[in-house]
C-alpha cells in the first residue's frame, strides 16, 4: 500500500500542496482529477521521488521511501509523452528495465514477447520509435513500465496527446492490463469521464488538498468538482437542441 501523509509543497510564494493525505490500496487505480496547475504533477513527482516535499512522509508498504533514491523506490512514473528511447527498437525499449536489472537473456526474450502480445504489438518488434503512431508509442511505454512489475505505477495524463479514437482504445487496453497484471496505480487526468472510467476510486485535487470519494455516487453528488460543470454543459446542449426543434 502506498501512503502519503501530510504532504506540503510550495514553489516560491505559491502553496501547491497543503497537508495532503493519500492512501492507495493494492491492485487499485486511484484517479486524480484536477485543473491545470492544481498540483497533480507535483504530487506524482513527490511520490516517485523526483520532487522533495517541504513536509510530510511517503510510505510504500509501511517503509518510509522519502530517503530512498528514485531508482530504488520501485515506483514508475509515466509522462504524457511516451518518451521512448530513440536509439532502441520496440523490443529493446520494452526490455529496458530488465536489462538494467541484468535479467537473464532468455528470460528477457520470453517476457518481452509475452508483453508484445499483451499489448497487441505483434510484428512491431524491430521497428524504431519514429516509425510508430502515438498510440503504439504509448503501448510500448506501458510495456516498458509493466515488464519490471513495479509496486506502483504513476500515470500523468498518459493519453493527453492522443486523438479521440486512440485515447478510447488505450483506456480499454489499460483497464484490461491493469486487471490482468494486478496493477496498483495513480491515474492523473483533467478529464472527468476518463477519471470515472479509469479509477476504482476517484479523487479531486483542489486548493492543495486531495478529496478522495469512497464511491462513485459520492463523487457524482459532490458539489465542488468538475462533474457538475460537465452535467450543466450537456444539459445546456440538450436544451438548445430541444429549443431549435
Amino acid at each position: 500500500m502506498l501512503e502519503a501523509q501530510h504532504i506540503s509543497k510550495a514553489f516560491k510564494n505559491e502553496q501547491v500542496l497543503d497537508d495532503l493525505n493519500l492512501q492507495l490500496h493494492e491492485h487499485e487505480t486511484l484517479s486524480i482529477l484536477g485543473r491545470s496547475g492544481s498540483g497533480k504533477t507535483t504530487l506524482l513527482k513527490i511520490l516517485a521521488g523526483l520532487e522533495t516535499p517541504d513536509a510530510g512522509r511517503v510510505l510504500n508498504n509501511d517503509q518510509d521511501v522519502l530517503s530512498l533514491p528514485v531508482h530504488k523506490r520501485d515506483i514508475v512514473y509515466l509522462y504524457q509523452e511516451a518518451l521512448l528511447f530513440p536509439h532502441l527498437n520496440v523490443s529493446e525499449n520494452i526490455a529496458f528495465g530488465l536489462r538494467l536489472r541484468k535479467t537473464d537473456g532468455a528470460a528477457i526474450n520470453e517476457r518481452v514477447n509475452d508483453m508484445i502480445q499483451q499489448l497487441e504489438l505483434e510484428g512491431m518488434q524491430d521497428k524504431m520509435p519514429h516509425q510508430l503512431s502515438g498510440g503504439q508509442k504509448q503501448r510500448v511505454s506501458f510495456g516498458r513500465a509493466l515488464i519490471t512489475n513495479p509496486s506502483v505505477l504513476l500515470l500523468d495524463e498518459p493519453f493527453g496527446n492522443l486523438d479521440a479514437d486512440s485515447r478510447h482504445s488505450m483506456q480499454h487496453l489499460f483497464k484490461r492490463i491493469a486487471k490482468e497484471f494486478k496493477i496498483t496505480s495513480v491515474f492523473v487526468t483533467h478529464n472527468v469521464k476518463e477519471a470515472i472510467l479509469m479509477g476504482d476510486r476517484i479523487s479531486n485535487l483542489k486548493d492543495g488538498k486531495l478529496y478522495i470519494y469512497p464511491t462513485l455516487e459520492q463523487f457524482l453528488n459532490a458539489g465542488e468538482n468538475m462533474v457538475q460543470e460537465e452535467i450543466k454543459f450537456w444539459q445546456s446542449i440538450s436544451e438548445t437542441k430541444k429549443n431549435s426543434n
Binding site: 521521488g49 523526483l50 531508482h71 512514473y77 509522462y79 536509439h87 528495465g97 536489462r99 538494467l100 536489472r101
Partner: protein
C-alpha cells in the same frame, strides 16, 4: 545531373589540389621555377620520418598525444558540465562565461593567464600546453553541448531513474547513446582546435613543446619548403583520416 556531377568534381579537385601539391613538394628534391613538376623526387624525408631519425616524428607523436588528450577530456568534461549548466538557475550567466575565451581571443587569454602557468610550474611542458588548450577546447565543448539538453531529455532521464536505472546506467544506456553523433562531432572539432593551435601553444610551451604546427611555421620561416611540405602533409593527414571514419556520424543523423 551531368552539370551537377561536373561541379562536384571541380569542387573535389579544388579541395584535393593543395593536399596533392603538399605531398608532391614533400617528395621533391629539386623543384625550381618555372618547372611545373619537380625535376627529381626523393623518399628520403619520408623514410627518415618513418624510421624516427627526423625530429618531425617526435613532434608528430607529441601533437597526437596533446590533441587526443585535449579532445577526450574536453568532450567528456564538456558533456557533463553542459548538463549541469543547462539545468542550473544561472544557466545564461554560465553560458556567457563559456564564451569568454573566444571573446578575448585565445592568444591574449593565454598571455593573461601565463603568470599562473609559471607559478604552477606548467610553463614550457606538455601538461601546461594540454591545460592551456583545454581552456579553449573545454568551453567550446560546453557551448556545443548546451543545445543538447532540454526539458524532454530531463524527463527521459527521470523516467530511466524510475525504471530502476542509477546515474551510471542512465549515462551508459541512454544519454551517451543518444548523444553519440554530437560526441563524435565534438571530439573531432576539439581535436582540430588542438591540432592546429599555434599562438597559445608557443606562449604556454615557450617554444619547448614542439608540436607539428610549430614545426611547420619554423620550416616556413627558415625557407625550408620541402620540410615545411612534409610537416604540413603530416598536419593534414590525421584530420582527413578522422573525417573519413566519422563521416557517417558527422553528416548523417541516425534517429
Amino acid at each position: 545531373m551531368k552539370a551537377k556531377s561536373f561541379w562536384a568534381k571541380v569542387v573535389a579537385v579544388t579541395f584535393c589540389f593543395p593536399v596533392v601539391y603538399l605531398l608532391l613538394l614533400s617528395v621533391a628534391s629539386h623543384w625550381i621555377f618555372p618547372h611545373v613538376v619537380p625535376q627529381s623526387l626523393t623518399l628520403n624525408r619520408w623514410y627518415s620520418l618513418l624510421t624516427g631519425t627526423n625530429s618531425l616524428f617526435g613532434s608528430l607523436i607529441l601533437s597526437v598525444i596533446i590533441a587526443l588528450s585535449v579532445a577526450t577530456v574536453s568532450t567528456f568534461l564538456g558533456f557533463y558540465t553542459s548538463k549541469h549548466i543547462a539545468y542550473h538557475r544561472s544557466r545564461t550567466l554560465w553560458l556567457r562565461l563559456s564564451y569568454f575565451p573566444f571573446v578575448l581571443s585565445p592568444v591574449i587569454y593565454s598571455a593573461v593567464l601565463y603568470y599562473y602557468f609559471i607559478r604552477l610550474g606548467l610553463s614550457g611542458n606538455i601538461v601546461g600546453v594540454i591545460l592551456g588548450q583545454l581552456l579553449i577546447a573545454y568551453p567550446y565543448a560546453v557551448i556545443l553541448f548546451s543545445g543538447f539538453w532540454n526539458e524532454r531529455l530531463r524527463n527521459i532521464e527521470q523516467l530511466v531513474q524510475t525504471l530502476g536505472g542509477n546515474r551510471w546506467q542512465t549515462y551508459k544506456r541512454v544519454l551517451l547513446p543518444m548523444a553519440q553523433g554530437l560526441l563524435l562531432v565534438c571530439f573531432f572539432q576539439t581535436f582540430l582546435i588542438s591540432w592546429f593551435e599555434y599562438g597559445l601553444t608557443i606562449i604556454i610551451g615557450v617554444g619547448k613543446v614542439q608540436t607539428l604546427t610549430l614545426k611547420v611555421f619554423q620550416y616556413i620561416n627558415a625557407a625550408n619548403f620541402y620540410n615545411a611540405a612534409l610537416s604540413s602533409s603530416l598536419l593534414v593527414i590525421p584530420p582527413i583520416i578522422l573525417l573519413y571514419f566519422n563521416k557517417k556520424f558527422l553528416f548523417k543523423r541516425h534517429w
